[in-house]
Protein backbone atom coordinates (compact mmCIF):
# COMPACT_ATOMS: atom_id res chain seq x y z
CA UNK A 1 0.00 0.00 0.00
CA UNK A 2 1.45 3.30 -1.05
CA UNK A 3 -0.77 5.68 0.92
CA UNK A 4 -1.05 6.06 4.65
CA UNK A 5 -4.74 6.67 4.03
CA UNK A 6 -5.19 3.12 2.80
CA UNK A 7 -3.66 1.68 5.95
CA UNK A 8 -6.00 3.79 8.05
CA UNK A 9 -8.97 2.76 5.97
CA UNK A 10 -8.07 -0.87 6.45
CA UNK A 11 -7.43 -0.61 10.19
CA UNK A 12 -10.58 1.37 10.86
CA UNK A 13 -12.65 -1.14 8.91
CA UNK A 14 -11.62 -3.61 11.64
CA UNK A 15 -13.27 -1.37 14.24
CA UNK A 16 -16.42 -1.13 12.16
CA UNK A 17 -16.45 -4.90 11.67
CA UNK A 18 -16.04 -5.27 15.43
CA UNK A 19 -19.40 -3.49 15.78
CA UNK A 20 -18.00 -0.38 17.37
CA UNK A 21 -20.48 2.46 17.77
CA UNK A 22 -17.79 5.03 18.45
CA UNK A 23 -14.32 5.31 16.99
CA UNK A 24 -11.86 7.96 18.11
CA UNK A 25 -9.18 8.70 15.58
CA UNK A 26 -6.33 10.94 16.71
CA UNK A 27 -3.56 11.91 14.37
CA UNK A 28 -0.74 13.99 15.75
CA UNK A 29 1.91 15.37 13.48
CA UNK A 30 4.61 16.57 15.83
CA UNK A 31 7.12 18.37 13.69
CA UNK A 32 9.19 19.42 16.71
CA UNK A 33 9.74 15.79 17.63
CA UNK A 34 9.78 14.50 14.05
CA UNK A 35 7.02 12.09 14.98
CA UNK A 36 3.65 11.08 13.63
CA UNK A 37 1.26 9.39 16.04
CA UNK A 38 -1.91 7.60 15.00
CA UNK A 39 -4.25 6.43 17.70
CA UNK A 40 -7.50 4.57 17.10
CA UNK A 41 -9.79 3.79 19.99
CA UNK A 42 -12.97 1.81 19.41
CA UNK A 43 -15.69 0.44 21.65
CA UNK A 44 -16.21 -2.66 19.54
CA UNK A 45 -16.29 -6.28 20.66
CA UNK A 46 -12.62 -6.31 21.63
CA UNK A 47 -10.32 -9.31 21.63
CA UNK A 48 -9.34 -11.89 24.21
CA UNK A 49 -5.73 -12.22 25.35
CA UNK A 50 -5.46 -15.28 23.22
CA UNK A 51 -6.68 -13.62 20.04
CA UNK A 52 -4.64 -10.52 20.76
CA UNK A 53 -1.45 -12.55 21.02
CA UNK A 54 -2.07 -13.94 17.56
CA UNK A 55 -3.35 -11.01 15.55
CA UNK A 56 0.06 -9.63 14.75
CA UNK A 57 1.11 -12.73 12.93
CA UNK A 58 -0.04 -12.53 9.34
CA UNK A 59 -1.76 -15.87 9.53
CA UNK A 60 -4.44 -15.04 11.99
CA UNK A 61 -7.94 -13.96 11.15
CA UNK A 62 -11.43 -14.64 12.42
CA UNK A 63 -12.77 -14.16 8.93
CA UNK A 64 -13.90 -17.24 7.09
CA UNK A 65 -13.48 -16.20 3.47
CA UNK A 66 -9.72 -16.46 3.51
CA UNK A 67 -7.12 -17.88 5.82
CA UNK A 68 -4.89 -14.89 6.40
CA UNK A 69 -5.54 -11.54 8.05
CA UNK A 70 -3.17 -8.91 6.78
CA UNK A 71 -4.35 -5.55 8.03
CA UNK A 72 -2.73 -5.40 11.45
CA UNK A 73 0.61 -7.07 10.56
CA UNK A 74 1.02 -4.68 7.61
CA UNK A 75 0.41 -1.62 9.74
CA UNK A 76 2.79 -2.87 12.44
CA UNK A 77 5.44 -3.58 9.87
CA UNK A 78 5.10 -0.08 8.45
CA UNK A 79 5.54 1.59 11.83
CA UNK A 80 8.65 -0.46 12.51
CA UNK A 81 10.03 0.29 9.09
CA UNK A 82 9.52 3.98 9.85
CA UNK A 83 11.44 3.88 13.15
CA UNK A 84 8.25 4.02 15.15
CA UNK A 85 6.35 1.85 17.57
CA UNK A 86 3.16 -0.16 17.54
CA UNK A 87 0.92 -1.06 20.41
CA UNK A 88 -2.47 -2.71 20.54
CA UNK A 89 -4.55 -3.17 23.65
CA UNK A 90 -7.93 -4.77 23.79
CA UNK A 91 -10.54 -6.05 26.17
CA UNK A 92 -13.50 -8.23 25.33
CA UNK A 93 -16.70 -6.24 25.58
CA UNK A 94 -14.86 -2.97 26.07
CA UNK A 95 -12.96 -2.26 22.89
CA UNK A 96 -9.60 -1.88 21.29
CA UNK A 97 -6.93 0.80 21.35
CA UNK A 98 -4.24 0.91 18.76
CA UNK A 99 -1.33 3.32 18.82
CA UNK A 100 1.27 3.52 16.10
CA UNK A 101 4.06 6.02 15.69
CA UNK A 102 6.31 6.84 12.76
CA UNK A 103 9.30 9.06 12.21
CA UNK A 104 8.01 11.84 9.98
CA UNK A 105 11.22 12.17 8.05
CA UNK A 106 11.62 8.51 7.44
CA UNK A 107 11.95 7.86 3.73
CA UNK A 108 9.69 4.81 3.93
CA UNK A 109 6.76 6.73 5.38
CA UNK A 110 4.18 6.85 2.59
CA UNK A 111 2.33 10.10 1.92
CA UNK A 112 -1.18 10.42 3.28
CA UNK A 113 -2.48 10.22 -0.26
CA UNK A 114 -6.15 10.81 -0.82
CA UNK A 115 -7.17 11.11 2.80
CA UNK A 116 -10.26 13.24 2.20
CA UNK A 117 -12.02 10.65 0.04
CA UNK A 118 -10.78 7.88 2.28
CA UNK A 119 -12.10 9.43 5.43
CA UNK A 120 -15.42 10.16 3.76
CA UNK A 121 -15.69 6.47 2.83
CA UNK A 122 -15.15 5.60 6.48
CA UNK A 123 -17.82 8.05 7.58
CA UNK A 124 -20.44 6.62 5.24
CA UNK A 125 -19.51 2.96 5.75
CA UNK A 126 -22.06 2.66 8.49
CA UNK A 127 -23.75 5.86 9.42
CA UNK A 128 -24.66 4.41 12.80
CA UNK A 129 -20.99 4.37 13.74
CA UNK A 130 -19.76 7.66 15.09
CA UNK A 131 -16.26 8.83 14.39
CA UNK A 132 -14.50 11.56 16.26
CA UNK A 133 -11.47 12.55 14.29
CA UNK A 134 -8.91 14.98 15.67
CA UNK A 135 -5.87 15.99 13.67
CA UNK A 136 -3.19 17.98 15.45
CA UNK A 137 -0.08 19.63 14.14
CA UNK A 138 2.60 20.66 16.61
CA UNK A 139 5.26 23.02 15.36
CA UNK A 140 7.48 25.44 17.29
CA UNK A 141 5.62 24.48 20.45
CA UNK A 142 2.36 25.62 18.94
CA UNK A 143 -0.57 23.25 18.44
CA UNK A 144 -3.12 23.60 15.66
CA UNK A 145 -6.08 21.32 15.48
CA UNK A 146 -8.86 20.18 13.17
CA UNK A 147 -11.81 18.19 14.46
CA UNK A 148 -14.47 16.30 12.53
CA UNK A 149 -17.02 14.82 14.86
CA UNK A 150 -19.86 12.90 13.25
CA UNK A 151 -22.01 13.32 16.37
CA UNK A 152 -21.87 17.06 15.99
CA UNK A 153 -22.53 16.81 12.25
CA UNK A 154 -25.47 14.46 12.74
CA UNK A 155 -27.02 16.90 15.18
CA UNK A 156 -26.98 19.52 12.48
CA UNK A 157 -28.16 17.12 9.77
CA UNK A 158 -31.06 16.06 11.95
CA UNK A 159 -31.79 12.73 10.30
CA UNK A 160 -30.56 13.53 6.82
CA UNK A 161 -27.82 11.35 5.34
CA UNK A 162 -24.41 12.81 4.61
CA UNK A 163 -24.47 10.77 1.38
CA UNK A 164 -26.64 13.41 -0.29
CA UNK A 165 -24.61 15.07 -3.05
CA UNK A 166 -24.45 18.58 -1.63
CA UNK A 167 -23.71 17.29 1.86
CA UNK A 168 -20.99 15.00 0.52
CA UNK A 169 -19.39 17.94 -1.20
CA UNK A 170 -19.63 20.04 1.90
CA UNK A 171 -18.00 17.31 3.99
CA UNK A 172 -15.13 16.79 1.58
CA UNK A 173 -14.46 20.51 1.23
CA UNK A 174 -14.74 21.04 4.96
CA UNK A 175 -12.18 18.35 5.69
CA UNK A 176 -9.89 19.47 2.89
CA UNK A 177 -9.96 23.11 3.99
CA UNK A 178 -9.59 22.24 7.64
CA UNK A 179 -6.55 20.08 7.03
CA UNK A 180 -4.96 22.62 4.71
CA UNK A 181 -5.40 25.32 7.28
CA UNK A 182 -3.39 23.46 9.89
CA UNK A 183 -0.95 22.12 7.30
CA UNK A 184 -1.75 18.57 8.33
CA UNK A 185 -0.95 16.45 5.30
Amino acid sequence: MNELSLYLLDIMQNSIKAKATLINLDIIKNIDEDKLTIKIVDNGCGMSEEVLSKVLSPFYTTRTTRKVGLGLPLFKELSELCEGSFKIESKVGVGTTLTATFRLNNIDLPPFGNWVDTFYILVINDEDVDIKYTHKVIKNNETKEFVFDTIEIKNILDGMSIKDFSLMQWAKDYIKNGLEEIDAI
Binding site: I124, D164, W170, D173, Y174
Partner: protein, 122 residues
Protein backbone atom coordinates in the same frame (compact mmCIF):
# COMPACT_ATOMS: atom_id res chain seq x y z
CA UNK B 1 -14.05 28.35 3.35
CA UNK B 2 -16.58 25.75 4.48
CA UNK B 3 -18.01 25.88 7.97
CA UNK B 4 -20.58 24.11 10.11
CA UNK B 5 -22.78 27.16 9.51
CA UNK B 6 -22.76 26.39 5.77
CA UNK B 7 -23.79 22.85 6.59
CA UNK B 8 -27.02 24.09 8.14
CA UNK B 9 -27.90 26.03 5.00
CA UNK B 10 -26.98 23.18 2.67
CA UNK B 11 -29.08 20.86 4.76
CA UNK B 12 -32.14 23.07 4.41
CA UNK B 13 -31.73 23.18 0.64
CA UNK B 14 -31.20 19.44 0.41
CA UNK B 15 -34.31 18.83 2.50
CA UNK B 16 -36.50 20.73 0.04
CA UNK B 17 -35.14 18.74 -2.89
CA UNK B 18 -35.54 15.45 -1.03
CA UNK B 19 -39.30 15.71 -0.67
CA UNK B 20 -39.84 15.54 -4.42
CA UNK B 21 -37.84 12.37 -4.92
CA UNK B 22 -39.15 9.00 -5.95
CA UNK B 23 -39.11 5.77 -4.01
CA UNK B 24 -36.36 3.19 -3.75
CA UNK B 25 -36.13 0.73 -6.62
CA UNK B 26 -33.80 -1.38 -4.59
CA UNK B 27 -30.53 -1.82 -6.49
CA UNK B 28 -27.78 -2.69 -4.08
CA UNK B 29 -24.08 -2.24 -4.85
CA UNK B 30 -21.56 -4.00 -2.64
CA UNK B 31 -17.82 -3.31 -2.70
CA UNK B 32 -15.24 -5.58 -1.08
CA UNK B 33 -13.13 -3.40 1.21
CA UNK B 34 -10.88 -5.81 3.12
CA UNK B 35 -7.10 -5.55 2.96
CA UNK B 36 -7.05 -7.50 -0.30
CA UNK B 37 -9.62 -5.20 -1.92
CA UNK B 38 -8.02 -2.02 -0.65
CA UNK B 39 -4.59 -3.13 -1.84
CA UNK B 40 -5.98 -3.93 -5.27
CA UNK B 41 -7.58 -0.50 -5.63
CA UNK B 42 -11.06 -0.75 -4.14
CA UNK B 43 -11.03 2.72 -2.62
CA UNK B 44 -11.14 4.74 -5.86
CA UNK B 45 -13.72 2.27 -7.19
CA UNK B 46 -15.99 2.71 -4.19
CA UNK B 47 -15.38 6.40 -4.27
CA UNK B 48 -16.43 6.68 -7.90
CA UNK B 49 -19.58 4.66 -7.26
CA UNK B 50 -20.52 6.75 -4.23
CA UNK B 51 -19.90 9.95 -6.21
CA UNK B 52 -21.99 8.80 -9.14
CA UNK B 53 -24.86 7.69 -6.94
CA UNK B 54 -24.82 11.09 -5.21
CA UNK B 55 -24.30 13.11 -8.40
CA UNK B 56 -27.08 11.39 -10.28
CA UNK B 57 -29.26 11.52 -7.24
CA UNK B 58 -29.85 7.77 -7.25
CA UNK B 59 -31.30 7.85 -3.78
CA UNK B 60 -32.91 4.49 -4.43
CA UNK B 61 -29.54 2.76 -4.66
CA UNK B 62 -27.69 1.49 -1.60
CA UNK B 63 -23.94 1.21 -1.60
CA UNK B 64 -22.38 -1.00 1.04
CA UNK B 65 -18.85 -1.93 2.01
CA UNK B 66 -18.07 -5.48 2.98
CA UNK B 67 -14.96 -7.43 3.94
CA UNK B 68 -13.30 -10.04 1.80
CA UNK B 69 -15.59 -11.64 -0.77
CA UNK B 70 -13.22 -14.60 -1.07
CA UNK B 71 -11.63 -14.05 -4.45
CA UNK B 72 -8.64 -11.95 -3.45
CA UNK B 73 -6.80 -12.35 -6.75
CA UNK B 74 -9.73 -10.88 -8.66
CA UNK B 75 -10.24 -7.80 -6.47
CA UNK B 76 -11.49 -5.12 -6.65
CA UNK B 77 -14.83 -6.89 -6.64
CA UNK B 78 -18.19 -5.19 -6.98
CA UNK B 79 -21.47 -7.03 -6.58
CA UNK B 80 -24.72 -5.67 -7.90
CA UNK B 81 -28.04 -6.98 -6.61
CA UNK B 82 -31.00 -6.03 -8.72
CA UNK B 83 -34.40 -5.35 -7.14
CA UNK B 84 -35.33 -9.01 -7.58
CA UNK B 85 -32.23 -10.03 -5.65
CA UNK B 86 -30.25 -11.40 -8.62
CA UNK B 87 -26.55 -11.03 -8.01
CA UNK B 88 -23.92 -10.09 -10.57
CA UNK B 89 -20.31 -10.27 -9.42
CA UNK B 90 -17.88 -8.01 -11.25
CA UNK B 91 -14.16 -8.42 -10.79
CA UNK B 92 -10.93 -6.54 -11.47
CA UNK B 93 -12.99 -3.37 -11.39
CA UNK B 94 -11.39 0.04 -11.79
CA UNK B 95 -13.09 3.46 -11.60
CA UNK B 96 -13.82 3.47 -15.35
CA UNK B 97 -15.42 0.03 -15.21
CA UNK B 98 -17.30 1.11 -12.11
CA UNK B 99 -18.81 3.97 -14.10
CA UNK B 100 -19.99 1.58 -16.77
CA UNK B 101 -21.45 -0.77 -14.16
CA UNK B 102 -23.43 2.09 -12.62
CA UNK B 103 -24.57 3.55 -15.94
CA UNK B 104 -25.39 0.34 -17.74
CA UNK B 105 -26.51 -1.97 -14.96
CA UNK B 106 -27.65 0.06 -11.97
CA UNK B 107 -29.29 2.79 -14.05
CA UNK B 108 -29.93 0.93 -17.31
CA UNK B 109 -30.79 -2.48 -15.88
CA UNK B 110 -28.45 -4.33 -18.24
CA UNK B 111 -25.72 -6.60 -16.84
CA UNK B 112 -22.20 -5.72 -18.05
CA UNK B 113 -21.31 -9.20 -19.26
CA UNK B 114 -17.64 -8.57 -20.02
CA UNK B 115 -16.72 -7.77 -16.41
CA UNK B 116 -18.51 -10.71 -14.81
CA UNK B 117 -16.30 -12.88 -12.64
CA UNK B 118 -17.35 -16.01 -14.55
CA UNK B 119 -15.36 -14.67 -17.49
CA UNK B 120 -12.15 -14.63 -15.44
CA UNK B 121 -12.37 -17.80 -13.41
CA UNK B 122 -11.28 -21.00 -15.02
Amino acid sequence: MKSLEDLKKIREQAAKKMSIRDEKNGYRVVVGMATCGITAGARPVLNRIVELVAEKDLNNVTVTQVGCIGECALEPIVEVYDPQGNRSTYCLVDPKKAEKIVEQHVIGGKVVEEYLIEKFKK
